[in-house]
Symmetry: C2
Subunit: 721 residues, 2 copies
Amino acid sequence: MGGFVNRHIVTANGFDEKNIPWFGNKFLTGNGYFGVRGTMEEYRKEQMCAINMAGIYDRVGDKWREPVNAPNPFYSVLYVDGVLLALPETAPKSHRQELDFYSALQMRETVWETEKGTVTLSCQRFSSMADQHLLAMRYVVTADYDCEIAVTTGIDGDVWDINGPHFASLKTGYEDGIRYVTGITGERGVTVTVKSRLLCDTPGTVTTDQYTALETVTRQVTANTPFILDTVAELTTSVDVFPPKAELSTLTYDAVKAEHVAKWKNIWDISEVSIDGDEEAEFSLNYSLYHLNCVAPRNLDGVSIGARGLSGQVYKGAVFWDTEMFMLDYYIDTDPKAAKDLLKYRIDTIGGAREKAKEYGLNGAYYAWESQDGGYEGCSDYNVVDVFTKRPMRTYFRDKQYHVSAAIVYGFMKYLKGTGDYSIIDEGGLSVILECAQMYRSLLLKKADSDWYEIHDVVGPDEYHERVNNNAYTNRMAKFVFETALSMIAYAKEKGLKTDYDLDSIAAMCKESAEHMYVPQMNENGLIEQFDGYFGLEDASVEEVRSRLLDPKEYWGGAYGVAADTQVLKQADVVALLSMFREEYSVDVMRKNWEYYEPRTEHGSSLSACMYSLLSCYIGNPDDAYPLFMKSANADLLPAGKEWIGLIYIGGTHPAAQGGAWIVMVKGFAGISAKDGKLTAEPKLPKGWKELRFKMMYQGKLYQIIARQDGAEIKEIEQQG
Amino acid sequence: MGGFVNRHIVTANGFDEKNIPWFGNKFLTGNGYFGVRGTMEEYRKEQMCAINMAGIYDRVGDKWREPVNAPNPFYSVLYVDGVLLALPETAPKSHRQELDFYSALQMRETVWETEKGTVTLSCQRFSSMADQHLLAMRYVVTADYDCEIAVTTGIDGDVWDINGPHFASLKTGYEDGIRYVTGITGERGVTVTVKSRLLCDTPGTVTTDQYTALETVTRQVTANTPFILDTVAELTTSVDVFPPKAELSTLTYDAVKAEHVAKWKNIWDISEVSIDGDEEAEFSLNYSLYHLNCVAPRNLDGVSIGARGLSGQVYKGAVFWDTEMFMLDYYIDTDPKAAKDLLKYRIDTIGGAREKAKEYGLNGAYYAWESQDGGYEGCSDYNVVDVFTKRPMRTYFRDKQYHVSAAIVYGFMKYLKGTGDYSIIDEGGLSVILECAQMYRSLLLKKADSDWYEIHDVVGPDEYHERVNNNAYTNRMAKFVFETALSMIAYAKEKGLKTDYDLDSIAAMCKESAEHMYVPQMNENGLIEQFDGYFGLEDASVEEVRSRLLDPKEYWGGAYGVAADTQVLKQADVVALLSMFREEYSVDVMRKNWEYYEPRTEHGSSLSACMYSLLSCYIGNPDDAYPLFMKSANADLLPAGKEWIGLIYIGGTHPAAQGGAWIVMVKGFAGISAKDGKLTAEPKLPKGWKELRFKMMYQGKLYQIIARQDGAEIKEIEQQG
């Protein structure tokens, strides 16, 4: 583990306790099956140490359902001559934390000064991409003097929970050289087992208690002789689809690592991006792609990606529109099977969406704002806590963000366009699309003397304005769903798909709905009003609105938030509409709206900047796009943005921002679009970018893209078997 | 002024400073042109002393527009041997305040103990009902020892304002024995002049300053010799319709008083109610009628009655639906001309209602929630102040309480039924009704696959639940408006009224609207849901909800108020609907709904109890009706109810509750209804009521009603003149 800085290593030098939550995200490792927060080996739940499981949810009492954190097999504490050396308690002489995101290895090196000399603790660990059940650690202690080193290491089942505890029972033990901690969740009785094997040439003493299975190894070492302890661990559950590939007892650190690194190399062979002339952007973008690769649920059934990836229980581990809107493109472009798996999640969970529709008196499928296993809604009616009264606040994320269903349909269409693979429609996608159309149909309202359908009482992408009428984005997306359903019905008929739907009647409904759908158009200034009455709201600046906060954690939205009665918005709303339907608007209209809405946008969501960045490219302004692109790509590299909504903690990784950065790079800077089954590129590179190179899949073929300030090349690459 | 208690005298013995605001309301005198708060002569603005003007509004800066308080000609301070004797500063030996509401005289008697003996101050004063410009006072000081008495008395122009100051300029002076203070309002330059003449056998010294015109009279008196100072004052404005009847210089206290008392006797000859067997109810009800008589704007144009009568600037002196819903009946029954004047106010102010409709993109006339002069909306979008943040809260009283327009139409229909006088329709009533129907038409929404019109996003009478859909009351009232418009069009055609309206097309619109109007019906339990989703709200008790308050002044409604997500309601809503459309519902349904909603009602509005009381009579349960009736009749007699909404003061008199008590007595206890132009009575008297006697007008004739437990008599009375 060198201290060198290269194209793939994120380094943080020095120790500052207040960075613990952020670094847990920044240095995360993961393999889609779980995520391991970038914490130190000696950390416990107080330091937000967590191994966050994909798709395993549990609910305690009437608290929020959230994904389960597994017991931690990396827990290790160091004593030298009987003295504890541990962060954050023992101040280090020096400390460095690193993530090699090319090989997906997390490293730390901490040096403590003792009375007799210095002690260095170096660890390397990873979450195996080759076998999703495995995780491994090499723990190395070196002192520059003769001393007694004792390490207590093993599995810590006393996990960090936000709304736990989730293990109704825990069993700990040791058998045949393997320590284990098994937890059984309270709600559904899912078993989560962590086993680990310590590979060390010194025998240890095993102790177990209610939560832990630990082994203490003590050795007299001579100066400058490394004391190495390897751990290989296996994480399984009672609902696994695929078992581990090998017996834990047969595995060594180096062997597991070699396969892991090789697997990542394969991934990077397709997804790595090169930007000649801008090392910083290249670094941030590849780092973003690293995170997207860490969270893709490649070998799981009925699982998608949560808004905070696998970085913890924030946002209940739930799947939002983020996945289809911002992350999906990356997988379509680099790993279509992963993309299809994400969409399969929506097919598999249509039952939850149907139930939600029924709950609100709607037809069809109304996908959850916060979708958990089975597609059931994880969002409560009270999703924010008021800072002044400490009372839960009634929010409308759950009931009125109708646009989530449209985003899913939009995701399907992106997949079809990008892959040409219509099997997803045959395998259930048709139901998703038709039932979303039915849901939107039940939202349509006509005024007594009007011929137009309106949609009232919604929350658009800009959540700071609740319960608005005719949100331009939502209305256009509803129309899009009707149009999509029409074309999918045509496909189904042509293909002779068997279905229980009355396709003709649904087609008639969709046609009538689409034709009469009211979509707010630009006014005399070329501006599209975000919703009825938006332009009549107070036109205060973002800074002015911010200055009205009485408490920094105060929620800006809700009925009485500082932004609610002003034109200040949380995130792209009209701008998202324009980015997504660019072919319907002139560059002039796009520019005018960008210029109007951008200064009024707080960018309070990590989804916002990339949308503005993309539209800025579309209007021929990559230099304005650039800082917003970098903001997206740096969402987890730079100090955390908003970490609180009211009194609810919302920190974690930001895969949607990272996916957004990919989209901006591909569609914006490289200017990739598809016409008649053929990719074209009209690059709009930021200043200083000499050459942008990346690969992408399109309709089953892999292409090498090279974009320069003055043009682009697109070459098909021969794929191996 | 005796200390006896009789059928018409309200007495308060003893002095307690904290009662000053309430007693200002309880002992109010007034004549429709102004109201004089029941404060002491030595009080100033700090004690909420005010002479509140009907229909004269002023606005300062961006503060709320409110009615103007006139300079106070009763201001008087007493010195005995140079020592100040005044409330609240000088603790009295004894103190009594009285209101003879039969003769409408306010009295006070305060006894102070000095070093030499006792001094008694007795005052009597009134607001002339015979000439609305006059007010007069007799101020009598008696000591039981020889002493020097000095009284400084005159006009105090430094008036109490909530959102003032309203006089941009004030002029004070003294001329030909008459003191005066003239104020000119800032917004519209209305002149308000108070002149007063001191009648006293001792000459005084006049002093004037910026605000006051005072006269100090000093006299050596011998023990037990009363020192009498009479004041007769005249209040006029630059927008008066009728001038004073006589020269101020010719008037004496006794002469003005004699005419005043005679006028009140005439009023009581028609309106007094006798209840044999229940002196307390008789007293409270007649006291309520006193207040209704004090506030009727009998000789004014374009003026109606504010929600707090003439007791101050609370609720901006604005006219609410209270007038048509709760007060109008009393005037229809006892003084149809006054009733017609109230309705004329709505005709005269249709311009304001049209502007409001336009502001919200609606057709026709949308009457103001808080109607001021010209019908302009006095209600702001921020009508409550949050107790926690001190920020104004966005409320929806102004924009979404659509039911006010229907209440006005309902008022017109009550007038037509009660008086048979259709001239009000010819004189502009038709416009009011047709344009209200047009307004409701623009609210109608049809779901894409429904045949029914719904009304969404409203605030019903129960203001604690904002922005609800299909409020049963509002929807039924909308239908009522369409039906009424239809019948009025039929009348207009039959009568050949000239009009600019396209009556046929409006009739077609109203017919189609009424036929397709969705009105929530009872469910399998016979219950009508107050609005979509109401039954799904938390079913917490009123006490439970109250216990959740963190601050006693906290607003129960709004987005996050303690009642908002529960079934607890502020006031009658479904119960109002049932009371008003009783012919459409069985007694069983009325009973079930009463029993469901009553325990869930906070009765946070003084409009609530009477509605519940009335329905209780309709379901044959006068004994349950009785305490609610008494609550209404005692609204100002008993200690004040809710005096704060958030940080906004809402104290004052409650003419709607008082009118409600009349309605309960007539329609509920006496069981009066009209069929085929004939009154009938089916009494349902509370326990202990032996005989209930009152008079009422019906279709131009005056009737004596005598109701007993076992039946009733209705006799026409020959009217004089």
